[in-house]
Symmetry: C2
Subunit: 333 residues, 2 copies
């Protein structure tokens, strides 16, 4: 295993510590239980927005904590759900009296633990609403999921809902908006290589030197099919067509096009993929009104990519454009 | 070779095209010769700041074109110097009458071609000054370099000099400042795995499964030594100590600490490295006044990292903090 780590069991703790040391103006890191919260704490009268999940997808979610996006994030061990006590502590830390939204990726452990945390928080008189993101069109059920998996759409939901909370919307409104984003977003990914978790030290799956996996999950869960590596333009077609088909886009729709690296795929390749994805969107009569290109929801060092398409409303565009100041996404400030 | 590309010979062209499609508000891409220029063109009375070099180090340099950093960048083929006609076209495109600064990484081809371009531009009555960046303490001469190589310090020089040009400083002042940055910045890198260039399709060098290369160059050029992989805290010591020693830091110095991924090393590992680098800096009595953590000067998909330390002045801090709006670095706008 070739990794820049110390003790495999200390990876998350040490990484989160370093993250806190690098961004003390934006975030504060708590341990036992572990959560990352905006440095200026709960905002009186503002809906709190939190998320969390297994580590190994950085910058998601911790990198999106700050102003105008997440108020807190709960990092689990690598590819392992955080525990309800982490989520409860984060929920209470960001409650400014207007309630807290939990944005939950659809993995069985995450959903179960966020449900428990929400119940505990409500017992402590914190109002909570939860929205489950399940935007991955690749497969119906999967290794850790009943129904579709939550992937790249989560990044977009966190930005848009964080901005809505900042703008003073109520918990009901922010939760409705989050459901609306989830209803209008679809994703699909692929991998050229496996990730290696620090604890196992071995590739999560095996791919031959000439193979790729289409429809891969962000923990290396199996996708739709394995096939020979094809030119990237064909690969992008294999991702974009099911995404657009499932979303049911119509000519004239405005979209946010998000081309994401799984971690090991460098920007020089990602922009070749973006070029084709943008072309396909335009061939479908869509207007690429906004875009995002880079490694935002990764799978450790996995080489591969995903595409996410969000059908935009005027409100979503305004909220996407609103100022954000986090370690991983920043504009307007 | 596992890459998301079409034709190996079209990688740079297609990637730059996609880059232009993703960021039309910030950049315009020209072909034949290829250069990337800020979308709003030459700024009357402002010093133009340009750079360039082989591709494969993205986001450097194209990702730093926009407002408050580079006015243009010239991407060569992968790991190959751009040609003088690219540099000349970029120079003339950004000349607002106050002259143009060439920020040149110290590689033989880059230095020679930028010299030729500067001569041609001066024949066309564009005043040019050139500053060569040579911040890599690992080795004295190297595969493509007489003297030290230019690496991570280049990112910092481009931000600081871009801000100085924006603030209305003269060409002499911006060039002096660039030399001052170069005098006060040192870097060193290491690799766990080789990069693979699209044209060769093979690893540039071989490393055993338990080996790492300390002092690697950004094109996979040999470093100081190969040794068994060690815990990342020890690896960071092997990089930080020569950097601080060569820079001759004194207790109380304020620094910018830049921990960079070579491409394949994910953020979860990079923040563990940052944690140790920050600790070492503090043990030396230094104040980490600013930092940068992420993949900013990469070597395709190489796994590995580099550390860069810049000794800061008040002026450099102000210029670092000044607004910047580029695809890869953005704040204050």
């Amino acid at each position: 295993m070739k990794k820049l780590i110390n003790d495999p069991d200390a990876v998350v703790r040490e990484s989160v510590e370093g993250f806190g040391m690098a961004h003390p103006d934006l975030v504060t890191v708590h341990h036992d239980p572990t959560y990352i919260v905006r440095a200026d704490g709960a905002q009186e009268g503002k809906v709190g927005v939190i998320s969390g999940g297994g580590s190994g997808h950085e910058p998601m979610h911790g990198g999106f904590v700050g102003r105008g996006m997440l108020d807190a994030a709960c990092p689990g061990e690598v590819f392992t759900s955080p525990t309800p006590d982490q989520m409860l502590a984060a929920t209470e830390a960001v409650d400014g009296g207007a309630g807290v939204l939990h944005i939950v990726k659809n993995y069985t452990g995450d959903v179960m633990n966020f449900e428990m945390a929400a119940e505990m928080a409500e017992n402590d008189d914190v109002e909570v609403q939860s929205v489950v993101i399940d935007d991955d069109v690749a497969v119906q059920d999967s290794l850790y999921t009943a129904g579709r998996r939550g992937v790249g759409g989560t990044v977009l939901a966190e930005k848009i809902c964080g901005a809505a909370a900042d703008a003073g919307h109520s918990l009901d409104e922010v939760a409705d908006l989050c459901r609306q984003v989830n209803d209008n977003v679809r994703s699909m990914g692929m991998a050229l290589t496996s990730c290696v978790t620090p604890s196992s030290g071995e590739p999560t799956f095996d791919l031959d030197e000439d193979e790729m996996e289409i429809g891969i999950g962000i923990h290396g869960e199996p996708g739709r099919e394995r096939k020979s590596i094809r030119p990237v333009d064909e690969v992008v077609e294999m991702l974009m067509e099911p995404v657009l088909d499932d979303l049911g886009t119509k000519e004239g729709d405005r979209i946010l096009l998000f081309v994401n690296s799984m971690g090991g795929t460098p920007l020089i390749e990602l922009y070749i993929a973006y070029r084709k994805a943008h072309e396909i969107a335009e061939q479908h009569g869509l207007t690429v009104a906004r875009n995002l290109v880079g490694p935002y929801i990764t799978s450790l060092e996995m080489a591969g990519m995903s595409v996410t398409v969000l059908r935009l409303t005027d409100q979503m565009i305004d909220l996407w454009d609103a100022p954000v100041h986090t370690p991983a996404l920043r504009w307007g400030v």
